[in-house]
Amino acid sequence: MSIATPDHTTDIDVRDDLIDAHRYYWDHLSKPGTWWSGAERVAIARETRLARQCALCLRRKAALSPYGIDGVHDDSGSGLAPGVIDAAHRIATDAGRLTKSWFDSVIDDQFTDAHYVELLGIVSSVMSIDTIHIILGLPLDPLPEPLPGEPSRQHPAGLEDIGGWVPAINPSKASSSERDLFATRRASNVSKSLSLVPEEHRSMKRVLAAQYLPIELVPSPGENGGRAISRALMELVGARTSAINECFY
């Protein structure tokens, strides 16, 4: 599908599967999730976008340590709790300097590790889709209208500590309802990172396949999924992105 950029530098011909994957995500976002309502999920997405211009986030990003800078985030008046807004803004703008002690300070009975993982799925999805639009010079997709309904509040079985801050499903212990999350009984830590909230894991897999590669092709270094750039160039671009984000993983 050809889309004209606002600065009229070019008409960009964007793959249909990429457009479809992003449409799927906005539809997914609008629905009640596992721990957040549709309205809360869209509000988290709005905070993710707002974080890029948030004065507190900009001051923290520029500081030697973000933890020495106090203040209040610019927020959208969503009614989300301050800890939730802080998590969305920090993950969006400065994820490379998050600490376990910060994580422990925002998690409580109302904002549990499962709420956090669903929020992380939303923030990282919005960041990924918006980044592509910004690079291509396309206007950001409008956020969807939230749909009514209650979160399902379902915990998956087969969780274990994988050395990070949140538990994840051990693929070999996944219940029948979560077996579709993993192609085999072995999976990397990052590919298990959202599995505490299986619906977020599924949406991540769906969108990632269009943005990068279907997960089953990732371990094969010669596979580029039919993209217009080689796998080596794809990995170079990914590595450069990770270096800029100071992501050691």
Partner: protein
């Protein structure tokens, strides 16, 4: 950004720009998933890439703290195995990896 975009289109074509943008978007996501959950690097990959972190200077990244530094012997072993890295990666890396 318009100049960079035009340069990529000129040298590699429009489809390449879209695919590179897709990769950058995907890594914006994956970086956050790893960093915001304090994930350590998977052990097989840590061994196979041992020493590269020093060469690239990424041990100074804040997020390096999430992964335990491997013992000297294991790092040396990883360096010896590096020429066979792509084969070893296929054998050792999780089949469902990202």
């Amino acid at each position: 950004m318009p100049e960079a975009r035009a340069a990529v289109i000129h040298r590699l074509g429009e489809a390449a720009l879209v695919d590179a943008a897709g990769v950058i978007g995907a890594f914006q996501r994956m970086n956050r998933l790893a960093d915001a959950t304090g994930l350590p690097v998977d052990k097989p990959l840590a061994v196979l890439t041992a020493g590269l972190d020093d060469e690239l200077g990424i041990q100074g990244f804040y997020t390096a703290q999430h992964s335990k530094r491997l013992p000297w012997v294991v790092r040396k072993l990883g360096q010896i195995m590096r020429p066979f890295g792509s084969v070893m990666m296929k054998v050792l890396a999780p089949k469902n990896d990202v």
